[in-house]
């Protein structure tokens, strides 16, 4: 069940940092059906109390360099810091770095580190830790999935420690995602240096610089963190964060109802139907904002049926995406037309949309040579009927259900679709990696940085590479290269706007939807301010007013 999270797509999600709470969320996060709090003004922020969060998956390892699952990053995000981070408006700001300068030629970044930071064991934080972290990531022996950005740093003396609180990194060529990549968690050199990280005690007892320090981890049961009173941005108000591992969403929901959980992620059905009572409105606040991931129907462009872009445009026109959002997500999501999150800076809202219009779709298909000549209800061309199979992975009902709606819509225009659901490992190995499919229903994570070369570049079509639909467009290649090497945000956006126009025209995917994140949090927690970045960005400022505190924590 927890693997379902990973399915959503390992891509870029964590490229930027040991992200966890902090970078989740999105633009235009809104307090969905948030109950009014009349007495809000009367309460002062206060220290104390505990927040009990339910999660479906246990963390696997609490050393961010080794982790690959969101459950682990949710925890390490509170324990570790990066040099930079994304603020509530998804703009970069300093965290362990006080400030930075980028050279004229855009090749060198100089970071000035904060001098008042201590590791949770009292050891001072210095440039040595950053140097160690960098070397650890680029070390070929480290089994990590997050080395790529750091490998772009110049090999020979590209990383320089100028003094204990100043470092400089130099790149071979301008690389726009570079700055954001320094949001990766910085690890303690004094505890790890010279040791095999995969066997380090820190994998289960992390020591960071962050707002919370590790207390206890009972496998499959709970993880306990206490506030770091010496945190350099001030002591967090909530004294303890306890994460309970409850793999079943229905059980989680019962625990929430019984008052044993303060926070969980709701399923669309729970959000719409089961949390609308007066009792829920009084005791909980619900939030709703788009997640950083989208689902799509990808066409194998090597398949003769999908070679003509007119056909792909017609397919998109024939699919009722609004009804997918309505039927599968109960309206808790948004239709998407490009590979960017609809409510972010990078999204281009002016692309061709190919809105649902079955009659028009039929015409477009006829123009492309697909007509029902033998009267069997299925379009054909050169004597071959238009039928194909959509494959998707097991364990993700949203995808399976979306495929069923697509099947219905395409049948209406005379295309016969079969659906095949396959176990994840077999799905990748025997179908995706071997290009042995006609169409696939999958999802990608959307990085905070807009770089998407790996998915669309004409050359990234090798065995395990990500352009498995074999999309070829030299202009897109060029635009994405330009986008990745341009630092200026507005100039950069121009390249991505153009890129989105081309993708929308070519329709190599039918972009389907972006899902909503649906957290519910006990109403005794104050200070939660939904922002473009979601709600987690100011976690250390959340508090429970003294009279409402439920648990007293003896440290």
């Amino acid at each position: 069940m927890r693997k379902a999270l990973l399915f959503i797509l390992p891509l870029i999600l964590f490229l930027l940092t040991g992200c966890g709470e902090k970078d989740r969320g999105s633009h235009a996060a809104s307090a969905g059906e948030k109950g009014e709090k009349p007495a809000a003004k009367a309460y002062e922020p206060a220290y104390g109390d505990m927040m009990i969060t339910g999660t479906i998956g246990d963390a696997s390892v609490l050393l961010p360099v080794l982790a690959s699952d969101s459950a682990s990053f949710d925890i390490t995000g509170l324990i570790y810091n990066g040099l930079v981070r994304y603020d509530k408006d998804i703009r970069l700001e300093g965290e362990l770095a006080e400030k930075w300068e980028i050279s004229e030629d855009k090749l060198t970044i100089r970071f000035h580190l904060r001098k008042d930071v201590k590791w949770q064991d009292g050891h001072p934080f210095t440039a040595k830790d950053v140097e160690y972290t960098y070397n650890l990531y680029i070390n070929p022996k480290t089994p990590t999935a997050y080395a790529t950005d750091f490998l772009k740093v110049k090999k020979e003396k590209g990383f320089r420690v100028l003094d204990p609180y100043t470092i400089e990194v130099e790149y071979d060529k301008p690389y726009a995602p570079a700055l954001g990549s320094w949001g990766q968690s910085i690890l303690p050199a004094h505890l790890l240096e010279g040791k095999d990280v995969t066997k380090s005690p820190l994998t289960r007892h992390p020591v960071g610089t962050g707002p919370y320090r590790f207390v206890e981890w009972k496998t499959g049961e709970k993880i306990v963190l206490d506030s770091n009173h010496d945190y350099f941005e001030g002591r967090p108000y909530i004294d303890r964060v306890l994460t309970r591992i409850i793999p079943d969403p229905a059980t989680q929901f019962l625990e929430l109802k019984a008052g044993k959980l303060d926070r969980m992620s709701l399923q669309p059905l729970q959000y719409r139907r089961q949390t609308t009572t007066k009792w829920f409105k009084e005791n909980f606040n619900k939030y709703k904002y788009l997640t950083f991931s989208y689902s799509y129907l990808g066409y194998n462009l090597s398949d003769w049926k999908f070679k003509d872009k007119k056909v792909r445009q017609a397919l998109t026109t024939a699919i009722n995406r609004e009804s997918i959002v309505e039927g599968v997500l109960l309206g808790l999501g948004s239709v998407t037309y490009t590979p960017f999150k609809p409510d972010t800076f990078w999204n281009n809202p002016n692309v061709k949309k190919f809105s649902y219009d079955p009659e028009k779709a039929k015409k477009m298909l006829a123009e492309a040579g697909w007509v029902d000549t033998d009267g069997d209800g299925i379009l054909d061309k050169d004597g071959k009927p238009f039928e194909f199979t959509i494959i998707t992975n097991q364990g993700n009902d949203l995808r399976k259900n979306a495929a069923v709606i697509i099947q219905r819509d395409l049948k209406a225009v005379g295309i016969k679709v079969s659906i095949r659901v396959i176990e994840w490992a077999a799905f990748l190995k025997n179908f995706i990696n071997k290009r042995n499919f006609e169409a696939c229903l999958l999802g990608w994570g959307i990085g905070i940085d807009p770089n998407q070369i790996d998915i669309w570049n004409s050359k990234k079509t090798g065995e395990r590479e990500l352009n498995f639909i074999n999309y070829q467009n030299p202009e897109v290649d060029k635009l994405l290269e330009l986008g990745a090497s341009t630092y200026d945000r507005d100039e950069r956006k121009k390249y991505y706007d153009k890129f989105q126009e081309i993708i929308a025209e070519d329709q190599p995917y039918t972009f389907l939807f972006v899902q909503d994140a649906l957290p519910i949090i006990s109403s005794r927690f104050y200070g939660i301010k939904p922002a473009p970045a979601g709600i987690g960005y100011n976690f250390i400022k959340w508090y429970v007013p003294k009279p409402l505190q439920k648990y007293s924590i003896q440290p």
Partner: protein, 325 residues
């Protein structure tokens, strides 16, 4: 007897070897490998990085070399390290989950025995009575009801509505601050629902088994003899019949020994119990070969030991077996 024991134990070696070879082979036949979680659909992994990880785990070698290496370590009781990203020793991962699984299974087995045996005996004695029919319906109900559904209903009733039992997990949040009796009580409260749900499902098998044994025995000549001697019905049933009818239960108990460290995934997921079922499921999904093999080996050893113990107990308990062997 000593010779018999040694022979039996020596016989276990080739069987175990066969079990491990087959398990290893089947496991390797499944598509995917433990590197998937890093490498699948991950733009950051190029060919060299993937090869490096594959080498790191020795997955570039042919399967029989991998098996040989695993077997050599196994002989020294070294289960190896997990291929999951936690990289922990397999034995640690298994040992931390055994107590809770064992506790629930043992309690549930005891509960099954103390309800199923009387039910079975009474049903047999009062065959085709209202009691017999009623209990038949009851135990088959338990057998047929999906455990996750029953679990959710009980959670809603006792956890949310009545608020007398905890819903899931094994300990309360403030467990560490409780006194020792308080802690015992806390765990006991958490155990009520899981043990009940788990036992309810197992009731049918044992009680039906007991019933047919008993029916078999009651028909025997020595029971007629006992009745003819003028013994009262109570003595006939509980002394003469029951003892004989209980014999096959020993075999069942022997066979349930490996089951004691196994757990159902759905059951554990619903109750948020970090037991063996979840561990095994996660290991299989993550293609964590050393952990899968570790659990399978322990299961195989316990199955063989369980059989052996059952056979020994049998000969101890039943003089007829001793004489004939």
């Amino acid at each position: 007897m000593g010779f018999y024991l040694i022979k039996r134990i020596l016989m276990m070696i080739p069987i175990l070897l066969g079990v491990t070879i087959i398990s290893f082979g089947v496991m390797k036949l499944a598509p995917g490998d433990p590197t998937s979680r890093w490498t699948d659909l991950n733009p950051n992994m190029n060919k060299e990085a993937i090869d490096r990880i594959i080498q790191h785990y020795g997955l570039d070698k042919p399967w029989y070399v991998q098996y040989g290496k695993w077997l050599r370590n196994m002989v020294e009781l070294d289960f190896g390290r997990s291929f999951a990203s936690d990289n922990r020793p397999v034995i640690d991962k298994i040992v931390e989950r055994i107590p809770i699984t064992l506790l629930i299974n043992v309690l549930s087995l005891i509960l099954i025995l103390i309800t199923a045996i009387p039910i079975g005996v009474m049903s047999a004695v009062k065959r085709s009575s209202l009691f017999d029919r009623g209990t038949t319906v009851f135990v088959f109900l338990g057998f047929s009801i999906p455990s996750f559904w029953l679990a959710l209903l009980l959670m809603i009733l006792f956890g949310v509505k009545l608020e007398i039992l905890p819903i899931s997990g094994m300990r309360s949040i403030g467990f560490a601050e409780l006194s020792l009796p308080g802690q015992v009580l806390d765990v006991a409260k958490h155990l009520v629902l899981p043990v009940f749900v788990s036992a309810f499902g197992g009731l049918a098998g044992m009680s039906r088994y007991m019933r047919s044994n008993m029916l078999e025995v009651i028909r025997q000549d020595y029971i007629t003899t006992a009745r003819a001697k003028g013994l009262d019905e109570r003595t006939v049933i509980f002394k003469h019949a029951l003892r004989n009818a209980l014999m096959p239960v020993i075999t069942i108990l022997g066979l349930s020994i490996p089951g004691l460290i196994g757990g159902g995934v759905i059951f554990e997921t619903i109750f948020a119990i970090p037991g063996m079922g979840q561990l095994f499921y996660q290991s299989v999904m993550g293609r964590d070969y050393p952990t899968i093999m570790g659990i399978l080996v322990i299961g195989a050893v316990l199955t063989l030991l369980g059989n052996l113990i059952a056979d020994l107990m049998y000969s101890l308990a039943d003089p007829r077996v001793r004489v004939s062997s």
